[in-house]
Amino acid sequence: MKYDLVVLGGGPAGYVGAIRAAQLGKKVACVEKERPGGTCLNWGCIPTKSLLRNAELYRLLKTRATDFGFKFDNLAFEWSKIIARSRGVADKLAGGVEFLFKKNKIDYLRGEASITGPGKIVYKTKENREEAVEAENILIATGAVSRDLPGLATNGKTILNSHDAMILEPQPKRLIVIGAGAIGVEFAYFFNAFGTDVTIVEMLPNVLPVEDTEVSVTLERSLARQGIKIFTNTKLVTAKTNDRGVTVAIEGKKQETLEGDCMLVAIGVDPLLPKGVELKLDNKGFIEVNDRYATNVPGIYAAGDVIGPPWLAHVASWEAIQAVEGMFTDHKPKRVRVFPGCTYCQPQVASVGLTERAGKEQQLKFKVGKFPFSANGKALAAGEPEGFVKLLISEPHGEILGAHIIGAEATELIAELGLAVTLEATFEEIEATIHAHPTLSEAVHEATGAAFGLAIHS
């Protein structure tokens, strides 16, 4: 039997692409070597959000219970149950994806796939049996895996990747985090909240280097207050493991040696390429695709982490939908341009569009509107006065070039601004929209006003 589409990989690109093709009436199969949901659902976004929720609650009770008028003795936690809750959430959602496959009549094929020829796929099942399927179109959505430090492979005990870190038992006393992107920062926050002594080492000048500098600096101060040691502009010189853990030499303003029980390597990802076919790759080793997500081999498309950054689940899903609609409808696929990015430590960080830095580099004309949560009623009522909303409003037309939020629920608040950017709304539309009171979203409204000196509460 020949499928209209066979998708390799069941993550946010793969399963979403498969479902969309099925919705379009196509005969679809999805080959996945582990279980559906991909890194995001099994070993990324979802289980870490579960861990971070634990961290947020524990930290709130531990450090601020008296602010809220709570009194109790012997606040304690069970590390293994924290991890078990996280795994439970992932299990539940993975089952959900399998259900969606059934519902959409997608053949879910378990095994590791390789592409043996045009439209030909072979996958090896758990029982080591080789099965062959044929497809008019192939979508490669095999994703990516954590990148190791050169010459220092992860071992799951002292040198960890994010996968290891989210099931790490027992809780380490001292953790060194290499890389202060979203993954590094989230794990640093998580372990620190439960009392691990955490040190972050980042080569670039700020944590969350892709974010607006003002946001990064605010976050650095907040994390430092929480007890995390941060070395920016600092590179790793050597790392040695020994029976006590790991010893790391770093070089920034000065040279130092750090000792830890373990070290988390969070320096990015490498693509997970399917075997059997020679595809044109970009200079970083990711699959090169054109505007229709087509690779250099006819009939083979690729989407998601495997085609390069930003390595984000929501971007991967969007790309897969674009690719599939391009294959089967007259929709002209679009490449990703504007997307939200979120980091789920506390305070949360979320952004869409350009940073102030990028706007200046591109010599754009814009106004900055900024409003602090300390002047927002809901934030005070919730006891979350930290952070701000910062908007870059283009001149002369007033479209939103970039939006940056740091504070409670920042990751939820960013949706409004993502919509604004997609709709090419100008500050006037946001200004003219009544935002419910009291909500954190009022700070977005006030930030548009602030750009023109019209914020009411500042």
Binding site: H397, G398, E424, A425
Partner: protein, 464 residues
């Protein structure tokens, strides 16, 4: 409840219209079907009829003013209502008063979820029909329908648009609108590439660039300032008529987005001239209308287009639309520019039918009385400048068509006959401009060859 009368959209390219003249005055009673005013569109002057009865209480736009489609022109009140409204507010020049009591006319017309109301183009049955002049409560039927009316604004346009207005809303982002306004770009001619076909910044900028480089390259012409002419003559700035604007937009789009190529053939006009003289002298004797050279060319074009179907086609983005019928457009010069009335299903019509029909259409075109459906939907065009003594030229394709035939005058010149002798002859030069996306050189040549064959054996054209 007063009814707002707005500038109707009378053709698919119309974005604004000129209120030429009000036929009714403030205070006049209006019955359904009465002509309220004359409106000039980009193509023709049309009569704007009333679709409700009542009294014309306010006129917001005076004779001779140009306004956008949808702009409020006047207010029609049911009898007995007019006093309240006429005195309510002195109407500003271009911005009529905002909605007053229950005057919710701003929703999209054409929506009628519960099916209790007639389509917006049709009669409005409810309280607008208070003929007795008293503020009587609406009938039971009207009362039931009223909530839908208030919510849906079913009463919006009293004037029947040629096409339902529901699909006419231009979807554009706020940013795109701002930039379009700044660049002076008409959004109705911009193709949207955003979600759901929405016009986004990129589309407007692209549309702007197709116009801009030209503007930059040719700055507005300024008369050379020679000292002698300084005080003598002044340059005149002529505001664009609706028709000139339409010509400017469409032909710029054609010439800049359609890959034109051109073919030309010289045709022996001797048999045509001889036949025409014979036919016309017979017609004169019989008291019938004469045939022009153009009639023969139109007939030949209709036949050739039906024989070479790819010449009677349009580029549809991801496909080519090959038309089943030859809708033959013929360029007619009028005072302000030109229109191209269409002879419908010309391949089925005799030369005499074509001749009679064109005469009638051309005469109404000159008096601007053509209806939109009479100049829209052509599939191939003939442009003839022979009457002006032009020997040869190439016309710009009339989009979305793929071929336009340009016809020169009959020229007497020495020709070489079959025996190799130089003899006096008559020649006519036909040119065609083709959209290469649809028509390749070989197809164009076949089409032109067919035209030549037919015109050099014109007797056939009387029989087909």
């Amino acid at each position: 409840m007063p009814i707002t009368i707005e500038m109707p959209k009378l053709s698919d390219t119309m974005t604004e219209g000129t209120l030429v003249k009000w036929i009714k005055k403030v205070g006049d009673s209006v019955a359904v079907g009465d002509v309220l005013a004359e409106v000039e569109t980009d193509k023709a002057t049309m009569e704007m009829e009333a679709f409700d009865e009542g009294v014309l209480t306010e006129i917001y736009v005076q004779d001779g003013n140009k306004v956008e489609v949808g702009q409020k022109l006047a207010l029609l009140a049911a009898k007995g209502e007019e006093v309240e409204h006429a005195s309510a507010k002195a109407a500003p020049e271009s911005k009529p008063p905002a909605a007053k009591t229950g005057d919710k006319h701003d929703a999209t017309p054409g929506q009628d979820p519960d099916g209790t109301k007639p389509a917006p183009e049709k009669q409005q049955p409810s309280s607008a029909k208070k003929e007795d002049g008293l503020d009587v409560p609406p009938s039971k039927e009207a009362a039931a329908a009223e909530p839908a009316a208030a919510g849906q604004g079913v009463q919006e346009s009293r004037l029947a648009p040629v096409e339902p207005a529901a699909g006419d809303r231009i979807k554009a982002s706020p940013l795109a609108k701002k930039i379009a306004a700044e660049l002076g770009i008409d959004l109705s001619v911009v193709q949207g590439s955003g979600p759901g076909g929405r016009i986004v910044r990129e589309d407007v900028v692209a549309a702007g660039q197709s116009i801009r480089p030209k503007q930059a390259a040719t700055p507005p012409p300024v008369a050379p300032k020679s000292p002698a002419s300084a005080s003598a003559l002044e340059d005149k700035k002529i505001p664009l008529s609706g028709m000139r604007k339409a010509i400017a937009t469409r032909l710029l789009e054609s010439k800049t987005t359609i890959p034109h190529f051109y073919l030309q053939a010289e045709i022996d006009a001797e048999p045509l001239t001889t036949l025409r003289q014979a036919v016309n002298s017979a017609a004169e004797t019989a008291g019938m209308g004469k045939l022009t050279v153009n009639d023969f060319i139109l007939k030949a074009t209709a036949v050739a287009a039906s024989r070479i179907p790819l010449s009677n086609a349009a580029f549809g983005g991801d496909s080519i639309i090959q038309f089943a019928n030859v809708q033959l457009a013929c360029a007619v010069a009028v005072d302000e520019g030109l229109v191209t009335p269409v002879i419908r299903e010309a391949q089925k019509k005799t030369i005499v039918q074509i001749s009679v029909e064109l005469k009638e259409l051309a005469s109404r075109a000159r008096s601007k009385k053509l209806k939109p459906e009479e100049y829209q939907g052509g599939t191939i065009t003939v442009s003839n400048l022979g009457g002006y003594g032009v020997e040869q030229f190439y016309a710009i394709i009339n989009p979305p068509q793929a071929v336009i035939v340009s016809v020169g005058t009959i020229v007497k010149k020495p020709v070489i006959d079959a025996a190799g002798q130089v003899i006096p002859g008559q020649r006519i030069i036909l040119g065609i401009s083709c959209d290469h996306r649809v028509v390749d050189g070989a197809i164009g040549a076949q089409f032109l060859g067919e035209l030549k064959k037919l015109l050099e054996n014109p007797t056939l054209l009387l029989l087909l």
